[in-house]
């Protein structure tokens, strides 16, 4: 482990930014937090839970995957050396789930290229970022178990750095870091973890809902929630483990064009509609059921790693769903039974 005076963080980040495209939490006017290129003016350590997870760094909202020009095509693949600073533990877990899914049986070259060229620095949470955090339930935080090159613990005046890889270690070499003896580091981490876990309440409804879904599908719950869902797809877009995309072609000129992929969501009817017009998931109730069962029941064991399920407890769907049917509310409804 390494230690760094908080004083020196800006210098270190500036230094890293000379060697990497440094992406970090920024506060943009009038106050929105987004992961963006490092700028000492907008960089902030007081960023809570950014509305969009850093999955946007690996699967952007839309990206050109190849271009066609005069009958030949060229793959657009990223080889930019990047460093993401400030990933939350839940997101680090979500990113790993997504990466396994995207490369497990068929390698998504666009995703993998970004993954391979990106260093990841996690900043551990000392407590919940807001009331919808439930990483202690999904076993995905508040401290990352793996999936990082460096992990930062904010101890007031000092930052402790856990080394996750040799590339991570190299980031500390020749800079203002100093060594930390193993026992001091281990004790400090254990105390940090204990304090953090104590203040992030476990949400029993999540486990209860997972158990309930093992035995039956509460159709009345899906029907009720399906009638409320406005099909905006926002829950999928903010979700760190959602990776579905759609492909479309765009003409640029008479003899050139590009193939683009862009975020998609299983909440949309067209996601499963077949060429004949038949839709195996014809109602919003069934589409919501599919989404939540994927997170809580039918996830792939190889994808989830050490986590409890396919949801990493970041709570963003509950933060942003305009009609209050995030994972927490769905679990509560399953446990309480549907409605009147």
């Amino acid at each position: 482990m390494k230690r760094l005076s908080k004083h020196d963080l800006a210098t270190v980040l500036t230094d890293w930014a000379e060697h990497y495209t440094l992406i970090c939490p920024t506060r943009q006017p009038p106050g929105d937090i987004i992961f963006d290129d490092f700028n000492p003016e907008t960089f902030t350590m007081d960023y809570g839970k950014p509305p969009l997870s850093p999955k946007t760094c690996f699967l952007p909202h839309s990206e050109v995957i190849f271009t066609v020009q005069d009958g030949s095509y060229q793959t657009a693949s990223s080889s930019d050396k990047r460093l993401i600073f400030g990933i939350r533990a839940c997101d680090a877990c979500g990113l790993q789930q997504a990466q396994r899914f995207m490369t497990r049986d068929k390698n998504d070259v666009y995703y993998q290229a970004r993954w391979d060229t990106t260093l990841k620095v996690v900043v551990a949470c000392s407590g919940p970022q807001n009331e919808t955090c439930f990483c202690t339930t999904t076993q995905s935080g508040p401290i990352a178990a793996d999936g990082f090159d460096l992990q930062v613990f904010d101890l007031g005046d000092e930052l402790f750095f856990e080394i996750g890889s040799s590339a991570g270690n190299n980031l500390t070499v020749g800079r203002s870091f100093s060594d930390l003896d193993q026992k001091t580091g281990r004790d400090a981490l254990a105390a940090f973890r204990e304090r953090a876990q104590a203040v992030i309440p476990v949400k029993p409804e999540i486990k209860a809902a997972i158990d309930a879904l093992k035995t039956r599908s509460p159709d009345e719950v899906w029907d009720f929630l399906g009638r409320k869902c406005i099909t905006c797809g926002g829950c999928a877009f903010v979700c760190p483990t959602c990776t579905c995309f759609n492909i479309y072609d765009q003409a640029v000129s008479a003899n050139s064009g590009q193939r683009i992929r862009a975020w998609d969501a299983c909440l949309y009817g067209g996601f499963t509609r077949e060429a004949s017009g038949h839709n195996p998931r014809p109602s919003q109730a069934l589409r919501l059921q599919r989404r939540h069962e994927h997170k809580l029941r039918y996830y792939h064991a190889l994808d989830i790693g050490r986590a409890l399920c396919g949801c990493v407890g970041c709570g963003r769907c509950s933060d942003f769903c305009p009609v209050h049917i995030g994972t927490l509310e769905v679990a509560q409804t399953i446990v309480a039974g549907a409605t009147p």
Partner: protein, 527 residues
């Protein structure tokens, strides 16, 4: 809206009419569903089985265009049963006798004969609405887009005043505006007869105020409405038009007539973010900035003024609308000198009493302010007409039922009604360029009742031809009992099936809104 969106949650009863709320105002629709789940009664008055109707305690499926008769029927029952609010009528209103005279003719049986709604349902709806402590009315274009649109709104206002469901939390008459800033555009005087804040161009003292502020003499005559402009262009009385962010070649009724009118102009300028069907006819196209490329305010359906910041710069030569207008004005010899939307808002504050206290400084620190907000200290007004109406006493404006301007006959035997779906927006200028939305709703479909489809040998997804006296379009059939028999429903989003070639340009005499919600058509399968 007289009241605010959040108040739907606390209403004892919500009456929704002419609004497919969950599709077009989904956040309001969900508040209504949430309230209903907690015990709020829900009455839906709509010919179609809209999704909200599945939650409704009572669904009145009246014949298209018979709204006045339905609500006169409700008022008839309310007065007959003595359920009207005598105190409210006495202290807050005038003209009750005239109302009573007219609605007394609309007994439940008479109304059933006109509207097709069972008399018992008229009685039940009347009692539920009148007996609720706090009842809200929500309506949208299903009420206004009729030749009787103004009458339809008047009878809803009469109904609310008759029962005292006004001026208190979770009551009122709540039009759900059809676009995110149509309220703001009207507030800013994008109407032919008023300056900002609905100050009449014909009033001398108001005109003098604007003449002083702008240093120019101003015309005292109201201008033309859109529908009047098109007729004037066709006659040759109107020589040039400047169309901003509007696509009348798709959105105005009887578009064959619109195309002739625009072709007859000497000069047409269109300002938009894409080359629309209308822009293709223009002599000059000015590229505007999209919503995410400009800073400014939007005023939503509950009169809430909200600030939005530009996220990116406009592409190439595109500019924010205000910058284009200022530049044009400069060339025309009247320098409009503003350095930012904030600067323009300062002028709005000085000239618009209802916006006087709505400053950028305040908007930056809150989630918007609801007008009227007359001073910098004023908290805004969530509920209108609390102690008195703007004009003093509220006047009952009774109306008699008038049929659709074009009723079905033997040849054109269906009523076509038009509207929108969730995935596409208006004429598709923006949404049809959005891949995912286009996948969700790639082409026009016309809804037809299963019995009609069977009789005409129309199968699901068959190609059909729909004709009115004004034109013909082709699209796919969707067989569903969500529409009544002898009624067709479709949308105006798709240029491949421009349904406004069919619609009737007959207008409401006061608002000049066309009757998009009902015209006579025929339909046949294309083999």
């Amino acid at each position: 809206m007289t009241n605010s969106i959040v108040e739907f949650e606390d209403a004892d009863l919500v009456l929704v009419t002419g609004s497919n709320t969950t599709a077009q105002h989904p956040l309001i629709g969900t508040r209504i569903i949430n309230a209903h789940a907690r015990g709020t009664k829900l009455i839906v008055v709509d010919p179609r089985i809209i999704p909200l109707a599945e939650h409704a305690d009572l669904h009145l499926r009246h014949n298209i265009g018979t709204d006045v008769a339905v609500f006169n029927g409700l008022m008839n029952v309310i007065i007959a049963d003595g359920l009207h609010d005598r105190n409210f009528i006495m202290t807050r209103t005038e003209g009750f006798e005239a109302l009573h005279d007219i609605v007394s003719r609309y007994t439940p049986n008479v109304v059933q004969a006109i509207t097709g709604v069972p008399a018992g349902d008229i009685v039940a709806a009347a009692r539920m609405y009148a007996q609720a402590d706090k009842a809200m009315i929500a309506y949208a274009m299903g009420i206004t887009q009729h030749t009787t649109g103004t009458d339809n709104v008047k009878v809803l206002a009469d109904l609310a005043m008759l029962t005292g469901h006004l001026g208190r939390p979770s009551t009122g008459i709540n039009p759900l505006r059809g676009q995110n800033n149509v309220q703001g555009a009207c507030d800013m005087g994008a109407l032919p007869n008023v300056y900002c804040g609905y100050q009449s161009v014909a009033a001398a003292e108001i005109r003098a105020k604007f003449e002083t502020a702008w240093g120019r003499p101003l015309n005292d005559k109201p201008g033309l409405t859109i529908t009047d402009m098109m007729s004037a262009a066709l006659r040759g009385d109107l020589k040039a038009m400047f169309i901003m962010g509007e696509n009348p070649m798709m959105s105005d009724p009887d578009t064959t007539h619109i195309e002739r009118a625009l072709a007859n102009l000497d000069f047409l300028v269109v300002q938009d973010i894409f080359v629309t069907e209308t822009a293709r006819l223009a002599d000059v196209v000015l590229p505007g900035a999209a919503f995410s490329e400009k800073t400014g305010t939007y005023t939503n359906t509950e009169r809430r003024v909200q600030l939005a910041h530009a996220a990116t710069a406009p592409p190439q030569d595109a500019r924010a609308d205000w910058e284009i207008i200022c530049a044009l004005s400069m060339h025309a010899g009247y320098p409009m000198v503003y350095d930012s939307p904030r600067d323009i808002m300062r002028e709005i504050n000085t000239l618009t009493p209802s916006y006087a206290g709505i400053t950028y400084e305040r908007l930056e620190a809150c989630h918007g302010l609801q007008w009227p907000c007359p001073t910098p200290e004023h908290p805004g007004t969530p509920i209108l007409h609390r102690d008195k109406f703007t004009k003093g006493l509220g006047t009952f404006l009774p109306c008699d039922f008038k049929p659709l301007a074009e009723v079905p006959d033997e040849e054109f035997d269906f009523i076509l009604t038009t509207g929108r779906i969730s995935y596409q927006y208006h004429t598709g200028t923006m949404t049809r360029r959005t891949n995912l939305l286009e996948r969700e709703a790639p082409h026009a479909q016309v809804q037809i009742h299963p019995e009609d489809a069977r009789r005409l040998s129309i199968g699901n997804c068959d190609l059909v031809e729909i004709s009115s006296r004004r034109g013909t379009v082709r699209m796919q059939a969707e067989i569903t009992d969500q529409v009544p028999r002898k009624v067709l429903f479709t949308t105006f989003h798709f240029h491949e099936a421009p349904v406004n070639k069919l619609t009737n340009p007959a207008c409401d005499p006061i608002s000049k809104i066309p009757e998009y919600k009902g015209c006579a058509v025929m339909i046949r399968r294309i083999s």
